[in-house]
């Protein structure tokens, strides 16, 4: 009897182990990154441009949308459309729940402490304008300093130029070194008791450089200086933890995160958002309106005047679910491998020079030819179905620093594959012959 029981027990244990292993296996297979599998999630990737299969290498400008995002927006307008925070009827309650639950989802996505620290906006440009406007009206005084870098996107330059112009504050610039990284010694010496804010790009859209923002934030905080991080290019490529970074503000755009255009997120530490005055005003941001005086909502409502981009937020919700289900480590490893292959192959082309050669880069590569203008490069590649960005990438001061009027830029997402890289390189070789 004893032997029988032992054998039953053994079979049972082996069975259990096999079951656990099979569950583990299924989980692994389900989440393991596969480029061909993710490609099928993006309908546009099977379309044609100029009679050629689309090879989309302009992901730093905007990312393509997975089918689930397109369907979510479609579904909202077909079956769920109504305004939020207004009616007591079914659809409005549904829309309000969907909108507010996305705030919770974004808070988790950025590892924020509270959902009320997430403000929906149009994108990075509006997010930075909101903060710059608040600083201009309530923080900055004559002689104060705002510190940005030479590699900022215009969206993180112009709002500060205006804020400084309005207050008499001075805009200070962290220089960029030859390989495309920030001059950290200069940064340290530029921080002073006059500095009221550091506004810095996490990943350069023009060069791909990943800046050491955590270290920069610690250095600024040592002198009680708040830091805004422009995460337009970092959020699509890496996991963001605003509490670990300890940034005071973080902004990202939905459309670069596979969500629709016109929606984005601003994270602000509660204490800072409380301190800043409302940005835009009108409906929905108020508590009580009276001609004798108006009171505003608390966070986050204070910063969301008027009917927001509800369908955009619904699309964003779907995009974040998509990213949460993705093996992001695998995706990022894949992007880095594409960057490595592209960089090596570009370096083999005579007369081509890569701008931005620092080691720590996101999957963005900018290049120029001695003899061929970037604009001609762009047209030639487009004729072969290859979309790259050409021009100054909204970083004119940075291009001036590198003494080039324009660059061609290929930026890879996780849905790009090796044949996209090969097609780019092959077309560039053909182009050299063409313009010979």
């Amino acid at each position: 009897m004893l032997t029988f029981d032992f054998i039953t027990l053994l079979i049972y244990i082996v069975h259990l182990i096999l079951q656990i292993l099979s569950i583990f296996f299924v989980l692994c297979v389900k989440t393991m990154f596969s480029v061909e599998s993710v490609r099928s999630d993006f309908p546009i990737l099977s379309s044609e441009v100029n009679g050629k299969s689309l090879i989309y290498l302009d992901n730093a400008a905007t990312a393509q949308k997975p089918d689930c995002v397109i369907q979510a927006v479609n579904q909202y307008y077909r079956k769920e459309n109504s305004n939020i925070h207004r009616g007591v009827f079914y659809l409005s309650e549904q829309a309000t729940t969907a909108y507010e639950s996305t705030r919770d989802l974004v808070a988790d996505f950025l590892s924020a402490e509270k959902s009320s620290e997430i403000i929906f906006c149009k994108g990075v440009t509006e997010g930075i304008n909101l903060v710059a406007n608040g600083f201009s009206r309530s923080i900055l005084k004559e002689g104060d300093e705002v510190l940005i870098s030479e590699m900022e996107h215009h969206a993180n330059i112009v709002p500060w130029q205006i804020a400084c112009g309005q207050t008499g504050a001075i805009l200070k610039i962290i220089p960029v070194l030859e390989e495309g990284s920030l001059d950290m010694d200069a940064y340290k010496s530029l921080l002073s008791e006059k500095t009221k804010l550091v506004a810095i790009v996490h990943v350069s859209n023009a060069l791909g450089t990943i800046n050491p923002v955590k270290e920069m934030i610690a250095l600024a905080h040592a002198q009680d200086i708040p830091v805004l991080v422009d995460g337009a290019q970092s959020a699509p490529h890496m996991e963001i933890d605003v509490q670990d970074l300890d940034c005071d503000f973080f902004v990202a755009s939905g459309h670069k995160l596979f969500a629709p255009t016109g929606v984005g997120m601003l994270y602000g530490k509660e204490s800072w958002l409380e301190r800043l005055p409302p940005y835009q005003s009108g409906g929905d941001m108020i508590e009580k309106v009276d001609f004798g005086g108006t009171t505003y909502k608390g966070l986050p409502g204070k910063f969301e005047a008027g009917t927001p981009n509800i369908s955009g937020v619904i699309g964003l919700r779907s995009a974040i679910h998509y990213l949460n289900d993705l093996d992001r480590f695998g995706a990022s490893t894949h992007e880095q491998s594409l960057l490595g292959k592209a960089t090596a192959a570009l370096n083999e082309i005579d007369g081509l020079r890569i701008i931005g050669t620092t080691r720590n880069k996101a999957s963005v590569v900018s290049f120029v030819f001695d003899e061929i203008h970037a604009h001609d490069v762009g047209t030639f590649l487009d004729a072969g179905g290859i979309s790259v960005r050409t021009g100054h990438h909204c970083t004119m001061p940075l291009l001036k620093r590198f003494k080039v009027p324009a660059t061609a830029r290929a930026s890879f997402s996780f849905y790009n594959n090796e044949s996209d890289v090969n097609a780019l390189i092959e077309a560039l070789h053909k182009m050299k012959v063409f313009f010979g």
Partner: protein
């Protein structure tokens, strides 16, 4: 064929003009000049003119621009050099018409035939701004 379509845009002598543009450099003496800039692509050009009364006596340009813009500048200056101002303005409107109508019609016959090369731009609408930039800069210089 992609190459065929591209060859329509980058016709031989457009490329020739772009690689060895005429009137390149800064005039030692000039009465008018202007800078033109295309904020979308970063093309930048400066046009210099030396006028005596209403007569153009010398022309030149400097640029950091694409081949279409350089070729256009080179051909434009060849066309307007030593001409009277009222003729220059006619050339400007002819060139604009050529780009809009996308044909070398009677309205634009005062331009040399070689400007027909710009009809290749009809398949590349985004590049029309490149061809127009030298002309807009010329107009700015004359204001």
């Amino acid at each position: 064929m992609i190459e065929d379509k591209l060859k329509e845009l980058y016709q031989e002598f457009l490329l020739k003009h772009s690689k060895a543009p005429l009137y390149y450099g800064k005039l030692p003496v000039f009465t008018h000049h202007a800078e033109g800039f295309n904020p979308i692509c970063g093309d930048a050009i400066t046009v210099y003119l030396n006028l005596e009364g209403r007569q153009i006596k010398a022309v030149s340009f400097e640029s950091a621009s694409c081949s279409i813009c350089n070729a256009s500048a080179s051909m434009m200056l060849q066309e307007i050099n030593l001409k009277a101002l009222n003729q220059v303005l006619q050339y400007y409107s002819s060139f604009e018409t050529l780009l809009i109508n996308e044909e070398f019609s009677e309205e634009v016959v005062n331009l040399s035939e070689e400007f027909e090369a710009f009809l290749g731009l009809s398949k590349f609408p985004a590049r029309k701004a490149c061809a127009l930039l030298p002309w807009e800069t010329l107009k700015k210089a004359l204001k």
